[in-house]
């Protein structure tokens, strides 16, 4: 078969368009299979194939940027010698120096200079001008101006707003805030009123992190100080419920109606127990009940707040409890604030009910809304009720040791600052939040912030002392931040406070 095709063309025909013509197929070559070749093939059997089951490794080389090191030295040599003088020749240098010393200019100058120099030398010898004179005196702390501002606003996502009844910070540094909403007005409940309460993440005020959906509205809600996932709540119906945020929006367990309270549970607090599952609750029906979260079908203990020292405690004589106080460091004692203005200090370990109720203080004209011991001075406690805030000492039963003046609006809640022992906060019905510093000014609040136009119902101070969460009647919670000087402890605070109290 020839692979060449030779043709000739006239030069004048170069560049002319080609006219292609269809032509049918033409068989050029036909190579037939040759059967004999097939015999030459040998089948390969067995066939060897290799595989490997191992990780694929690769090798890489890396070298860091090398630092260049350089050694340098400096050689001090004498310079400035005039050309005729050889620096190494000692005699010549000496001669040169002597010559200069003879110069009158030299003498004159040196005498002048020494005059000034002597003055300084003597000065140095006389007194050390750089001495630290007042080493042990601390620089006086400046009177700083206090300020406060609202950081975040958490609104009730429901259409019908219900008032905030309780706030609780989560124990892990306060990254979450649990807010309970409930309309406490008598017979205000309508079936379509939502029972939801919320757990908000502090950073995100747009959407609550978790919606708690009980069957009855929650009146008060508390995080377990030892476990960031557990909460306990007291409900409008008098029951108590135990929640776990990991479980979801329904309570893990709820107490049954009969052994529970007969009135809404206004206050619920965790107890320092070994198991970390005990808490107690109080309500306006005059009972204080102790519960264990593992067994919520009946309370472990009940106390009827009947202060008339009789043989028996009668429920009809009991005083309704409006708030509870419990200090973890004094595990067997607790205090109850009642609806008629008394504060009762109780001992849990008392054998008879009479022993349980230790002492009684007449605090306010109306119900005691808040009661809290000073975190650093546990013998002193703060009560909030009617139009003023009072500070009491346990030893002094006749009256409070300190009280604020009567305000224009009723006080609704108050708390000590956990970081600064002389500072406490109060909320008022006209929507303002006050911060008081008893070391600075006892007659009026150090700073007063008008948070909103509606009545502020609740207040909770963050563990670090600078943030305060307040809730109002419209279901909105505000997060206010106070300036540093209200949160950071000063060194003399404790000393001064002991002197005051």
């Amino acid at each position: 078969m020839d692979v060449q095709y030779v043709y000739t063309k006239k030069r004048s025909e170069f560049g002319r368009p080609c006219f292609f013509v269809d032509e049918g197929p033409k068989l050029m070559e036909n190579i037939m299979p040759n059967r004999e070749f097939h015999n030459g093939y040998i089948f390969k059997n067995p066939v060897n194939r290799s595989t490997q089951c191992s990780s694929v490794l690769a090798e890489h080389e890396v070298n860091t940027i090398r630092a260049q090191y350089d050694q340098r030295g400096m050689n001090h040599t004498e310079g400035g010698w005039p050309r005729e003088v050889n620096p190494t020749d000692e005699e010549q240098t000496l001669r040169f120096k002597k010559k200069i010393e003879k110069d009158e200019m030299y003498v004159h100058t040196v005498l002048q200079l020494t005059h000034a120099m002597e003055h300084c030398i003597l000065q140095n010898n006389a007194i050390n001008i750089y001495e630290e004179y007042f080493e042990d005196v601390e620089s006086a702390t400046l009177m700083e101006r206090c300020s406060a501002r609202t950081l975040n606003v958490y609104r009730d996502p429901n259409k019908v707003k219900r008032p905030v009844t309780h706030l609780s910070w989560s124990p892990d540094g306060g990254t979450r805030l649990a807010v309970s909403h409930c309309n406490l007005e008598f017979q205000r409940r309508s079936p379509d009123l939502s029972t939801f309460s919320y757990i908000w993440e502090v950073e995100n005020p747009n959407k609550p992190q978790l919606i708690l959906k009980p069957s009855v509205p929650i009146v008060c809600l508390e995080y377990n100080p030892k476990d960031v996932n557990c909460l306990v709540s007291g409900m409008f119906s008098g029951q108590v419920a135990f929640w776990d945020v990991r479980k979801g929006s329904t309570p893990v367990d709820m107490s049954i109606l009969e052994p529970s309270h007969r009135d809404p549970v206004y206050s619920v607090l965790w107890i320092n127990s070994k198991s970390g599952t005990e808490f107690f609750s109080s309500s306006t029906d005059g009972q204080v009940k102790w519960w264990d979260t593992r067994k919520l079908n009946e309370p472990s203990e009940t106390l009827i707040l009947d202060i008339v020292k009789g043989e028996e405690q009668i429920l009809s004589r009991a005083l309704g409890a409006s708030c509870l106080e419990y200090e973890g460091t004094i595990p067997t004692r607790f205090m109850v604030g009642t609806e008629n203005g008394c504060v009762i200090s109780c001992n849990r370990k008392g054998k008879t009910p009479a022993e349980k109720i230790v002492s009684k203080y007449t605090a306010h004209v109306g119900p005691v809304y808040a009661l809290q011991r000073n975190p650093s001075f546990v013998k002193n406690f703060l009560t909030i009720g009617d139009w003023m805030a009072r500070i009491w000492s346990e030893d002094c039963k006749e009256s409070s040791i300190m009280w604020t003046c009567n305000h224009q609006a009723q006080l609704t809640d108050g708390a000590w600052s956990p970081t600064r022992s002389s500072v406490f906060f109060t909320t008022r019905m006209d929507g303002s939040l006050d911060a008081w510093d008893i070391l600075r000014n006892q007659k009026e609040a150090v700073i007063s912030v008008k948070v909103c136009d509606y009545q502020l119902s609740n207040l909770r101070v963050h563990d670090q002392g600078q943030l305060v969460a307040v809730g109002n009647n419209m279901g909105t919670s505000y997060l206010a931040e106070f300036s540093e000087n209200l949160a950071a402890t000063q060194r003399n605070d404790k000393v001064l406070l002991t002197a005051v109290s």
Binding site: G79, I100, Y106, T109, T114, M117, I121, N125, Y130
Partner: protein, 97 residues
């Protein structure tokens, strides 16, 4: 006259806390010194440069002004420099503590 200079220098040296005294001329040559040669040479070179710089600073800020005295206080001692057009007097002293 020369003996006066000698006496004055001796007097300065005898003050409490004075470690050494050097007189350096404008070219950096130590004329008179009470310390060993290496230290003297070091001080002479470094201090004259510093004194020149300080003087130029003062004069740059205000041309009518001039440097009268320079004191360098360090943890261990104080170097006092009295400059002049031609010569520089350097005294190293341990201030009283």
């Amino acid at each position: 006259m020369a003996s006066e200079v000698e006496e004055t220098m001796k007097r300065i040296q005898s003050h409490k806390g004075v470690v050494g005294t050097i007189v350096v001329n404008s070219e950096g040559i130590p004329i008179k010194t009470t310390m060993d040669n290496t230290t003297t040479v070091q001080y002479a070179g470094l201090i004259s440069q510093l004194s020149d710089k300080a003087r130029s600073v003062v004069r740059d800020l205000d041309p009518t002004n001039d440097l009268t005295f320079l004191r360098i206080r360090s943890r261990k001692h104080e170097i006092m420099v009295a400059p002049d057009k031609e010569f520089i007097l350097i005294v190293i002293q341990n201030p009283t503590e």
